[in-house]
Amino acid sequence: MEHHQERSDHRSQDLPQVLVIKPPPVLTLFEDKFISSKFQLLKAWESTLPLDQFLTNYAGSVRAVLCSGASPITADIIRLLPSLQLVITASAGVNHIDLTECRRLGIAVTNAAGVFSDDGADAAVGLLIDVLRKVSAADRYVRNGLWPAKGDYALGSKLGGKRVGVVGLGGFGSAVAKRLEAFGCTVLYNSRTQKPSVPYPFYSTVLELAADSDSLIICCGLTAETRHMINREVLLVLGKQGVIVNIARGAIINEKEMVECLVRGEIGGAGLDVFENEPNVPEELFGLDNVVLSPHRVVFTPESFVAASELVVGNLEAFFSNKPLLSPVIYE
């Protein structure tokens, strides 16, 4: 594949290059959206060279990198990109970027916050209803021909009137809360800081939130503080009828402890789009009817992907035109 790199070096148009180590899903599915008059893509994954060698040979003047969960931007990678000024991710999550190192070196970071909120929230509510009302399990029951054979399906649990604790009240959390209100749920939340303009009761710890909730919806980012924040203690306090939905990052929950709680019936159920070691999912969950599993695609709609692509390209074009970035990540 090296001739491809030589060809791009001799390109007559001298467009600035945007490094892509591995293509994010939006690029794989909507590559035509990334054609621009302001930049060209430097596709590291198409080279047979080991990554560090490729970067040393070809990425010395690269000012921007488009990354994804599959290609984290670590301090080591940053060290190999001496001209780097911008890290762009097509995801809302930024846990795969060494933000501390970026901040230290004055490297800007943009993400795709906002464009995924509706789809993420829709799926979170869908998963919660699915677990409480046993939608997937009952669908399986019908498809297996059990309705005539075994009679009526088991009763589920009413969503209306439930106290739902939202963990993280950013774009996703707010969108989830707004939807749940229409079902007659009482929304409670935990966030790093209390938000004064918000009508929902605030709980300063996840443990206190879980103690007062029937269900928890995880909508926060993965950071050092939130890693394994949902553990056995929190789950036990959520209780035997408690349901947890995770649309954020698998590692926010101590997966081993959650699986144990589910298998032992110590919590009521779970709706999970994300896992600690995707695409591996603990097989103990496959035998449980009170668990609904999803392969990390709560934001996988054409609308979200097109919007994310446009936001990525918008940020890149702004950057290369010396205009303000559209969706910079603000460091706290």
Binding site: P25, T28, L29, A70, D118, D119, A121, D122, A123, V125, G126, L127, I129, D130, L132, R133, K134, V135, S136, A138, D139, R140, Y141, V142, R143, G145, W147, P148, G151, D152, Y153, L155, G156, S157, K158, L159, G160, K178, R179, E181, A182, F183, G184, E278, P279, V281, E283, F286, V292, L293, S294, P295, R297, V298, F300, T301, P302, E303, S304, F305
Partner: protein
């Protein structure tokens, strides 16, 4: 009241059975091997019938129960009760409105989300062990989709309220336009179907609404349209629906009810753009208890000569 005979026509709820047994002389019709003989023997002691969405009190049953005073349905739907016959004979009829409205509406939205976002299909996919990294299949966005509702009663309005929280524009068809309602009215079901993305059946089953979802409506809804039925199976011309789904002339469906429950057309089992549920619209512990309490409350009120709680006739 222990001598009052109450005929429960099919199993529906063990709490209800238990409570009725405490108060009345409860007959469980489904346990009787010779039904005609049983009715002949007990007809003079049966003063109440308790039915549900599967079975109620048709003309035949009403005729053989000369002492029947009240039919209490463990459902809001009345399609299994011969209302005209009850009116004619002065038999009271009660149902269970309001207490199940939320659950049915919640399930309608749950079905929409499960069909569009392929939640059941995703769950099957992960459980099969086939999930690999780099497997990107897109699903259909729900927020902002146009939702058309047939029947804007309690359940229809509750569905609309929930869908609005997802920024879905709401339109409806009902027997008469409701001028106080801000949603867009269509004077015909075909027109409604042609102008929405998701069509929800939320009306009661009557002679007029039998097969209200027919080939013409299905064609108008189209290959990107989704049908959600939380009404009654006979609202839909089921063979037409099945062929439309198999031939991909209809985009998808979320079905809680079928024409011949518990039979569900097997051609549907292999399709991934469907969710099939075993009539669980009101199927939560909380709501079934509330429904049972209404049935008991209505029967008690009747036999104590007090006003009925939720009379229909």
């Amino acid at each position: 009241m222990e001598s009052i005979g109450v005929l429960m026509v099919c199993p529906m709820n063990s709490y209800l059975e238990h409570e009725l047994e405490k108060r009345f002389n409860l007959f469980r019709f489904w346990t009787v091997p010779e039904k005609s003989a049983f009715l002949a023997t007990n007809k003079n002691s049966i003063r109440a019938v308790v039915g549900n969405s599967s079975a109620g009190a048709d003309a035949e049953l009403i005729e053989v129960l000369p002492k029947l005073e009240i039919v209490a349905s463990f459902s809001v739907g009345l399609d299994k009760i011969d209302l005209a016959k009850c009116k004619e004979k002065g038999i009271r009829v009660t149902n269970t409105p309001d207490v199940l409205t939320d659950d049915v509406a919640d399930l309608a939205i749950g079905l929409m989300l499960a069909v569009l976002r392929k939640l059941c299909e995703s769950d099957r996919y992960v459980r099969s062990g086939k999930w690999k990294k780099g497997d990107y299949r897109l699903t259909t966005k729900f927020t902002g989709k146009k939702v058309g509702i047939i029947g804007l009663g309690r359940i229809g309005m509750a569905v609309a309220k929930r869908a609005e929280a997802f920024s879905c524009p709401i339109s409806y068809y009902s027997r008469t336009e409701k001028p106080e309602i801000k949603y867009k009215y269509y004077p015909g079901v075909v027109e409604l179907a042609a102008n929405c993305d998701i069509l929800v059946v939320a009306c009661s089953l009557t002679e007029e609404t039998l097969h209200i979802i027919n080939r013409e409506v299905i064609d108008a809804l189209g290959p990107k349209g989704v049908l959600i039925n939380v009404g009654r199976g006979p609202h839909v011309d089921e063979p037409e629906l099945v062929s439309a789904l198999v031939e991909r002339r209809l985009g998808g469906a979320g079905l809680d009810v079928f024409e011949h429950e518990p039979e569900v057309p097997e051609e549907l089992f292999g399709l991934d753009n469907l969710v099939l549920l075993p009539h669980v619209g009101s199927g939560t512990v909380e709501t079934r208890q509330a429904m049972a309490d209404l049935v008991i409350g209505n029967l008690e009120a009747h036999f104590l000569n007090k006003p009925l709680l939720t009379p229909v006739v």
